[in-house]
Amino acid sequence: MTERITKNMARNIYFGGSIFAILVFVGLTFDTVQQVPKLSNDDKITESVARGKNLWEVNNCVGCHTIMGEGAYYAPELANVFDRRGMKNEVAFKAFLQGWMAAQPLQEPGRRKMPQFNLSESQVNDIADFLIWTSRIDDNEWPPNIEG
């Protein structure tokens, strides 16, 4: 098949095709950036949510968990943990998360272990606020069910 294509034609396909792809992608990026604030409720990002995201990062939570399906596959999905463990009740979820974080690592032999991160009560609340905000992102109805 390549006999009919000359080197010049191949080079033109490369330059033309790449420039076209880049233009399409840049255009879609601009549109996405316009739409994300609404899809993610950007106006609901409080200081606590922002602090929670930072705590999520500096404790490397994504090293075991997924969030909206991205991360490591060693521990449960957390973008919907507010729905799953908090039954969409903010007070109940925060109470649950305080207890859960304090109890780590669980003393069950052979069970996967979550480290003790020694976070303060307000830090755990920040993480809870971040996870609550995350659970309300419009992510095309993912995951398929509550188990994540």
Partner: protein, 457 residues
Amino acid sequence: MKYSSQMVAKPYFIFALILLAGEILFGLIMGTQYIAGDFLFPEIPFNVARMVHTNLLIVLILFGFMGATFYLVPEESERELWSPLLAKITFWVFAAAGVATILGYLFVPYATLAEITMNELLPTMGREFLEQPTITKIGIVIVVLAFILNVGMTVLKGRKTVITVVLLTGLVGLAVFFLFAFYVPENLVMDKFFWWYVVHLWVEGVWELILGAILSFVLIKVTGVDREHIDKWLYLIIAMTLVSGIVGTGHHYFFIGTPDYWLWIGSIASAVEPLPFFLMILYAFSMAKQRRIDHDNKMALTWAKGTAVMAFLGAGVWGFLHTLAPINFYTHGTQLTAAHGHLAFFGAYIMILFTIISYAMPIMRGRPHGNGPKAQAVELKSFWMMVIGMLGLTAALTVAGFIQVSLQRLPDVGALSFMATQDEIVSVYKVRLAFGILVLAGLFTYFYSFFVKEETA
């Protein structure tokens, strides 16, 4: 070897191989933690082992790319490297920064590492694959700039070939897209959207240019095929790569809070992504068939063909398995993703490093015709051990993914929880670990092939 400055590639290759052994070792640690949850806890928690595993992978590939570039650019440009001294300095700076970062992961709690390295001044830590402290990231930028300066000056002053121009394009792209690692907005969706600018546009974009250039160089050397022919193939492959791969980033934008048109655009564009890898198989095998010389280094051509086939399987076939949005809805973030990731990285990026190392190392060690038959026989054994190990590991993870989807994702009522599902998969994880051990044994066999003595030599 035509130019003495090509020798600077040697420490890069050796260090890349040492890091690969470490990378696999930490993979085995995690493989064990998937079976026995308290293995090495609290000394090396899973997240730490994973950071070491993935960061070593990225760093070793970068070392390999740099070594490959330093080896092939002088020969292609028909002149000595612009500054061999700078290449040596770059090596030591990068190696020291890399080792210090890994030791930091292992011996300091991650939150403390963030504190010590003053992450709060410019927070970039704690995102998958980009866990490096900000100061390390800045170091990477400096190293890469010094590297590109060195290579760029060599290319500009010497003969320009399609291979070096494509390689340089890939390297500049690598540097440019890495800058998105410094953009960490408060909005998680924006964060994720541009995080993929680094991760996807590296692995399924500019890295493939680097891969294509290295593969083409080795194919010219071991087959003696006309350069015009090689250039045409290389252009076609990277054209398909960028046409499908750039917009194909959209297959990561299905379920992370980005607009729903990505479901269509991502599915269609990424359905084309196997094509460049299929072309790569045609390329490697037809060049081998049309070869004008019979190079004594048979293993280099074996690795080259293996790269094309395994990259097609890992990146192409295993990627396509779950790239369409209606399927990805159920498979997103399962062991199937891990299966694809493992075979794609090995097939494309680890095997291309073996290809160039197998070609260049014997020459740098004073054997222009490649290693002797006995050493090559050992190397062939290591080739199959690693390939079979990775295929078995991938097959096991694929089975694990199917079980996970069917127990946890598919049922509308009575779906098992994540942890309960994982308990059901333990026996499959044991198979995965066994194949992982085979991969490490294969790598040690490969190391051994360097030390095989030939009777006649």
